[in-house]
């Protein structure tokens, strides 16, 4: 009786108030059969990591349009590491200038989805990144 659902945290860290994109993504993942834990606006890195831990999510999606990704993302990745959650793939969406992409990858972001990315591509990326967990979910 296996009932494996991909659980994804969708969070908006930082101070911008535009959550339309995050909601569209949440809805798209829902329609792809995933369970989306939506945390709302203005999350601190600590709140994001705490929610990821309590909800035992398989993936994290961050939506940042404020330009603060260079401050927020490394901090979130560091906190995930401190909590032993580095194995959770992190996806980044929103407005991230091309020049910053290498830095984001370097701190451990799995993939970055800019405006216009198709939902299919995002769903597939999350499925791929979480596929290994199917067999290694013993504890």
């Amino acid at each position: 009786m296996e009932d494996r659902k991909i659980r994804v945290l969708i969070a908006k860290p930082g101070l911008d108030g535009h959550d339309r994109g995050a909601k569209v993504i949440a809805r798209g993942l829902r329609d792809a059969g995933m369970e989306v834990i939506y945390t709302g606006l203005r999350q601190t890195p600590e709140m994001v990591v705490e929610a990821a831990l309590q909800e035992d999510v398989d993936a994290i999606g961050l939506s940042i349009l404020s330009g603060a990704h260079k401050a927020l993302v490394p901090r979130i990745m560091a906190l995930l590491g401190e909590q032993g959650l580095s194995d959770i793939p992190v996806f980044l969406g929103g407005i991230v200038p091309h020049d910053d992409l290498p830095e984001m990858k370097e701190v451990g972001v799995t993939a970055i989805f800019g405006p216009g990315t198709g939902m299919d591509k995002i769903v597939q990326a999350i499925r791929d990144a979480t596929a290994h967990q199917e067999t290694s979910s013993g504890g």
């Binding site: 659902k5 831990l53 909800e55």
Partner: protein, 339 residues
């Protein structure tokens, strides 16, 4: 093997989170976890919060948890939201209203999708509550799916049931219908700053008053016995009744929530003093065993009935060659052959 469950017992948060996922994922693993943790459970006060979508359940849970934390009570929260009947996906949005609780190690919030379970809870909810219980949480708040009139499973899962209403949800005939209002130990009219709140409160109080008058006429014993079917009596035993009260709150700013918190704690004390705690444990145990049996039967149905037979019978019924009872009997015969 169960180092994970040892860590649950010490209250380690990541282990708690992982154990709940395993329960959701596999019925077999749920069995192992509950068998292992069961001796460490039984201390937590399980409080259900139910009510219509948008009545303010999550916001009330947020504020109620804060009030309990002021008393140094450790609070576990399980918030259930519906799964899509089409894709199986879900958006679990209750944390949005619970941001005040972030960063408090005395709080643990878990969102849960109903995964097709009816009645307002998920199949895994009761077992997840056991994990939180074993991890040392004193009060476990279970927020149901936004409930209509008949989602009353929570009353058989919780010791104390809070039903949240909002103004403008219907006239006073709604308040005397059977169903969700009957299961309330505590009634809350949230959004009490909105027009119509006073009328809602009045209608609910009148409903309670009628109930009490009727109950006093019939024998108390009967009422307690009828509790087996889920209808709770207002009178537990002669002379020590729990009065269901109606509280007005504005949960968004915390108004009136202190009184609700006091009522929750008073209700626990009442259950223990009156012997009703044991009665509720009996109700809860019955419900849990029933659920496990049903899950196993459902699994038998899924795994032992041939899918192609089922599909051909579906088509036969749709084209009116076979009636649905005959079709079901044929399928049923694949699991329980007639001798």
């Amino acid at each position: 093997m169960d180092d994970l469950l040892q860590r649950v017992r010490t209250g380690e948060r990541r282990a708690v989170a992982r154990a709940i996922s395993q329960i959701e994922r596999s019925e077999e693993r749920a069995r192992e976890i509950v068998v292992d943790l069961f001796p460490n459970t039984g201390d937590a006060h399980i409080v259900g919060v139910t009510g219509a979508p948008g009545s303010g359940k999550s916001t009330l849970v947020n504020q109620l948890a804060r009030k309990l934390r002021e008393r140094d009570i450790q609070v576990g929260i399980i918030a259930v939201d519906p799964s899509s009947p089409f894709t199986g996906g879900a958006i679990l949005g209750d944390r949005v209203r619970m941001q005040d609780l972030a960063g408090d190690p005395g709080i643990f919030i878990r969102s849960m999708a109903s995964r097709g379970n009816l009645g307002g809870l998920a199949r895994a909810t009761a077992s997840a509550a056991k994990v939180l219980d074993a991890a040392g949480f004193d009060v476990i708040l279970i927020e149901t799916v936004g409930a209509g009139q008949a989602e009353v499973s929570i009353a058989k899962t919780a010791h104390t049931t809070i039903v949240v209403e909002a103004p403008g949800m219907g006239d006073d005939i709604q308040s005397i219908k059977a169903g969700i209002l009957e299961i309330a130990d505590i009634l809350v009219v949230n959004k009490a700053d909105r027009p119509g709140a006073a009328n809602t409160t009045k209608a609910l109080r009148l409903m309670l008053h009628m109930g009490q008058t009727n109950n006093k006429r019939s024998s108390t014993k009967e009422l307690v016995d009828s509790g087996v079917n889920g209808t709770r009596s207002l009178l537990a035993e002669e002379g020590s009744a729990w009065d269901v009260s109606v509280f007005e709150t504005v949960a968004i700013n915390g108004d009136g929530v202190e009184q609700v918190a006091e009522a929750v704690l008073a209700h626990r004390e009442y259950l223990q003093r009156s012997g009703q705690w044991l009665q509720r444990e009996i109700d809860r145990s019955r419900q849990e065993i029933e659920q496990i049996l049903q899950a196993r039967l459902a699994y038998q149905l899924e795994s032992h009935i041939s899918k192609s037979d089922r599909e051909s019978l579906v088509k036969a019924v749709a084209s009116r060659q076979v009636d649905p009872y005959t079709a079901a009997s044929r399928l049923f015969g694949q699991i329980f052959p007639k001798r």
